[in-house]
Symmetry: C2
Subunit: 404 residues, 2 copies
């Protein structure tokens, strides 16, 4: 943020310009947070109808895989950040010549490349000393590699199947994780010719997530640890804080999030998805951006994750992370068969004046995330009932919360 940038907008007291590559719902909700901070926020969207492009006054249309488009976008920004992990490394290097990139490419690689992430995290001795580990994993290229991995698991006294296959980066057809029960299933995944990891299938009691922010100055802040429920690879429900989580495990998860952020040099948000497995915490995935597990913070934390991400990438002091309610439940709204979400919204609002509905302006397609609902209060089970009722009504769905 040099003097040239400050002089660009003298009328607004030298406020910086933050650019976000990608214009999905994460960028949309970041745009909402940017309004309150009085900064200028721009998005790089593929098309004007995208979720964030609909609401952001400074939308640039372009292709995030094009170095030229990224340069054009970056030149006007003091800081560029991301609503996804898909900008290739070579293009990031070009973008870095004209603006600050946060998180930086040297950190972002661990959110882009699961093999690099597994190798890096496995090398952190401090983690294993505290009952945190990665799943056993191996880079695989052929069916024989996968069968070898399964056989080694079996030889060590663990089940041979299922084997989890993960795309090292990206995936295909919107998926990046396959739980394979047989040779045939493995062969099907291998047929797509993408780079893969094999991982053990971790038996877990539940999934947790920890969300931290870290600024370039090194300040860290951590939100309460949450419980998440995923179905078919999509986050469905988040409960904050994770019910009944022991203080020891909560502290360990928070320590873990802050440690990884510091070790990898993350700036901005870092979400760590975890399995609670016996007395261990097993690291599932990393994301370096606002995360679905943090949507509850908009309505029920002192600082929303979206404001926090902006504060972190701008190297502003981080905001308070406490929840403003005893319990908070967030349920994603998936598209159903009725495209008219708005008419359904009326009924949800009438039924429950306290539920907070967030719609993303996205065309309804079955199974697509088109919004989320949040309810805060005291009694977790009643909050879950209310949140699921609202989400199901909007989705024209009939899903039940887990355990019902």
């Amino acid at each position: 943020m040099g003097d040239d940038n400050r002089s660009r907008e003298p009328g607004h007291g030298g406020t910086p310009v933050v650019g976000m590559v990608g214009a999905g719902q994460l960028a949309r909700m970041t745009a909402q947070a940017a309004i309150g901070l009085g900064i200028e926020f721009r998005v790089l969207a593929a098309a004007p109808g995208e979720s964030a492009a609909q609401v952001c006054a400074r939308t640039v249309i372009g292709d995030y895989t094009s170095a030229g488009d990224l340069l054009g976008f970056g030149i006007g920004c003091d800081v560029v950040t991301f609503d996804h992990e898909h900008v290739p490394g070579a293009q990031l290097a070009v973008l870095g010549q004209v603006t600050a990139i946060r998180p930086g490419p040297e950190a972002l690689v661990f959110a882009q490349d699961k093999l690099a992430m597994r190798n890096r995290l496995s090398s952190l001795r401090a983690l294993s000393g505290r009952g945190v580990r990665c799943p056993r994993y191996r880079h695989v290229g052929t069916l024989a590699d996968v069968l070898d991995f399964a056989a080694d698991e079996h030889a060590a006294g663990r089940p041979e199947w299922p084997v989890v296959l993960k795309a090292i980066s990206g995936g295909y057809d919107g998926r990046g994780v396959w739980i394979c029960d047989s040779k045939e299933a493995v062969r099907e995944v291998l047929s797509h010719g993408i780079a893969l990891l094999a991982e053990e299938y971790v038996p877990f009691e539940r999934e947790l997530a920890v969300l931290v922010a870290r600024s370039p100055k090194g300040q860290g802040a951590c939100y309460p640890v949450v419980q998440t429920v995923q179905r078919d690879g999509i986050c469905r429900e988040v409960i904050a804080p994770a019910p009944g989580l022991s203080p020891e495990l909560a502290e360990r998860a928070q320590w873990l999030g802050l440690s990884i952020a510091a070790e990898l040099g993350v700036t901005g948000l870092l979400a760590v998805e975890l399995f609670e497995s016996g007395t261990e915490l097993v690291i599932n995935e990393l994301a370096m951006r606002p995360h679905n597990s943090g949507h509850w913070t908009i309505d029920a934390a002192v600082t929303s994750q979206f404001e926090q991400h902006l504060r972190a990438v701008l190297d502003l002091p981080l905001g308070g992370t406490a929840s403003t309610a005893a319990s908070v439940v967030m349920v994603n709204v998936l598209g159903g068969h009725d495209p008219d979400l708005y008419s359904r919204l009326v009924h949800v609002m009438a039924a429950d004046p306290v539920v907070k509905v967030h719609l993303y302006g996205k065309q309804v397609r079955p199974g697509r995330k088109v919004g989320h609902v949040t309810v805060a209060g005291d009694d977790v089970e009643r909050l879950r009932d209310r949140a699921w009722r609202a989400a199901n009504y909007l989705s024209l769905g009939t899903e039940q919360p887990a355990g019902h």
Copy 2:
């Protein structure tokens, strides 16, 4: 919202378009709320640099006194609402031919014309039966009229001076209220040739405000009654709920807000500014839009006033109005002598990670509202200290909260 509107945006499930005339900070914060509701929000701005125009993807540049500009704006909207009261009645009538106007002209007139408001509220017998009244007032055109009014006050055993003069609509030089201590002061105000009311100077313990929403279907919702502090005609501090207000007075104020909204046929928000004077509530001003006394709701109510206004004008069910904290303090940030608000923001955030700062993107000019801060918690006096410290630092000001 007929079928023609639904078919306009089939991809987004028939979401409606709300237009707001005016692009100040109220429109800016309404734009922020609209993002979460997934509706399309447009503003009619005089210039692209205005507070809301900076952040709203659908900004139309035009003149709110031009029937042509209003028509062009209104044709694309399902509902048009306002961030100020200044659209003349004739232009409202034109606008009403192409779109729904909420609040409607027949209600809005009471926010535009103080004589009409005083006459109408004074005719409501229910109010005086419950210890609510308007200040004594008189339409005045000449010095003799004002001196007559003062003499009548004196004859009834009340002080002759000061006399309050109010512009019936608008004002000049940004002001609409003058507290006159002498004939000379009255003469000065009269010299500007605007239509005036004379009103008694109401001795009060403090100022209160009550904020209600009312939908076209007639649903009403009321926020907790707040205490406000005005200086030089500018709202400086709001405390929610009003400390130590008796339950009886609180209930009376809420009844009053809901009654006036229903009597005047208001749709959207109605703010009623009150004097607490002995055992009476005296009605000072009305506004039919989001109001400075409701800014605290963004951070510390189930439903922010901006979302509530949108819900009301769209005839959606209204949202919960409870505060999420025991006490909330909001202090406005006035421009000081340092134009670089953003650099000052860094220090405020470092000093207090829980204070919520809202900046409006407005050029800093001494005394101009450029933002506000909100702090929620338990101990009102400590919250006030923190809020004033943050606001003063941003303003480069040294003002003290009242009573310090």
